[in-house]
């Protein structure tokens, strides 16, 4: 018996003769506690839970939706137009069959939270198997530079936030969230610094509850 064979048996929890290879191999003897720990780890329920089958769709929707907002990359002011185009087209291709065509399932107006601001956004939403597709028409927000961006959030009644993607200023943009509007009724927009922090900044600029 060699090391590989013996360690496989130890990991399987099979009995191993103490006077055999184990007696003469210091490496295998030192591996015994770690293999036992590994064997116990294999019983961890979290290892055997599978994510929802549609989670992959939601991940693709989230990233492709964000990629469609023309965010800058290092060394360039904007992502090239073809990338945004690819993202937009790909989002349509990826979700063909799950996006309900026609009139939106719901519409909501987001109003400015700051007094004196004229910013407003209309959000039209389609409920899909993969979550929620939203088309925004934003007016009155100042366009931000490469150090910041606006981020659209959906929030549940118990305070859970889900990002639907980002944009830079006025205009039309399509965003996705992997959750249902019915579960996340509040829709709001924050101004985010480009600092890599995934949490909302706290600087709310538009809100469905304003």
């Amino acid at each position: 018996m060699n090391c590989e064979e013996l360690q496989a048996r130890l990991l399987a929890g099979e009995p191993v003769a103490a006077e055999g290879h184990l007696a003469s191999c210091a490496a295998c003897r030192s591996a015994v506690p770690d293999l036992e720990a590994l064997r116990q780890r294999l019983a961890d329920p979290a290892l055997w839970e599978e994510p929802s089958p549609e989670l992959g769709d939601r991940v693709v929707a989230t990233v492709v939706g964000a990629a469609g907002d023309r965010r800058p990359v290092r060394g360039r002011r904007w992502i090239p137009a073809w990338v945004a185009a690819v993202g937009t087209v790909a989002a349509a291709v990826v979700f063909v069959g799950v996006v309900r065509p026609g009139a939106p399932d719901w519409e909501v107006e987001l109003r400015a939270t700051a007094s004196g601001s004229v910013a407003v956004a209309q959000v039209a939403g389609w409920n899909t198997d993969a979550g929620t597709r939203m088309e925004l028409e934003v007016e009155g927000l100042r366009r931000v530079g490469p150090d910041a961006y606006y981020e659209l959030w959906l929030t549940s009644p118990d305070g859970r936030h889900v990002s639907a993607g980002t944009f830079r200023g006025p205009g039309e943009v399509t965003l996705w969230a992997g959750v249902r509007r019915a579960d996340y009724p509040r829709i709001w927009v924050t101004l985010e610094p480009a600092d890599g922090d995934p949490a909302p900044s706290g600087e709310t600029v538009l809100d469905s509850e304003a």
Binding site: Q7, G56, A66, V86, G87
Partner: protein, 177 residues
């Protein structure tokens, strides 16, 4: 090099690359998030946020490197943020949440990531045997009945699977030595 091409495409927001990266590492992200947070819904939220954050930070990633440790670091940070957010929401105490210690479920997350990744590299048949014997605690005979194959087949699959797992996870033993 295949990873480098994949990461370049991921950085550009190519949906197929996003899908491929998710297929390779999404289950490991889910595993560590579920283990840390103990909630499927939150774990899936962490998976989405992890890939979104990864895309946002992709311009900082060296595409010639293995993306797994990088993705793991993002996933852990997102899981920590999610834990603190949920705790803040439950306790409605803002002042001291940033200094609160993480629970034991956050320990050993990298090892969990590595074990899940190793399991994902087994064949479905090999993984079914490992699940039956280690997670469900079955004997080879019980596993054979569950899987509808002869006991000898279970034994040979078990032997092959354990050899592969021991080899794939050898670096964890070396790291702890």
């Amino acid at each position: 090099m295949a990873d480098a091409r994949l990461m370049r495409r991921f950085r550009a927001g190519d949906p197929q690359a996003v899908r491929e990266l998710y297929e390779r590492h999404g289950r490991a992200v889910f595993t560590v998030a579920l283990r840390a947070l103990g909630d499927r819904s939150l774990a899936e939220e962490v998976v989405q946020q992890t890939f979104l954050q990864a895309w946002r930070a992709a311009h900082t990633f060296d595409v010639d490197k293995d993306p797994a440790p990088w993705l793991y670091a993002i996933a852990r940070r997102v899981a920590v943020d999610t834990y603190r957010r949920e705790r803040r929401h439950r306790q409605d105490r803002v002042d001291d949440v940033e200094i609160v210690a993480l629970p034991p479920s956050f320990e050993g997350m990298w090892e969990a990531w590595e074990v899940r990744s190793a399991l994902d590299r087994l064949s479905d048949e090999e993984r079914d045997v490992i699940e039956a014997t280690h997670y469900l605690g079955m004997t080879h005979e019980q596993a054979a009945e569950r899987l509808g194959v002869p006991v000898g087949t279970v034994k040979s699959r078990s032997h092959r699977a354990h050899r592969r797992l021991a080899a794939l996870l050898g670096h964890l033993r070396e790291a702890s030595a």
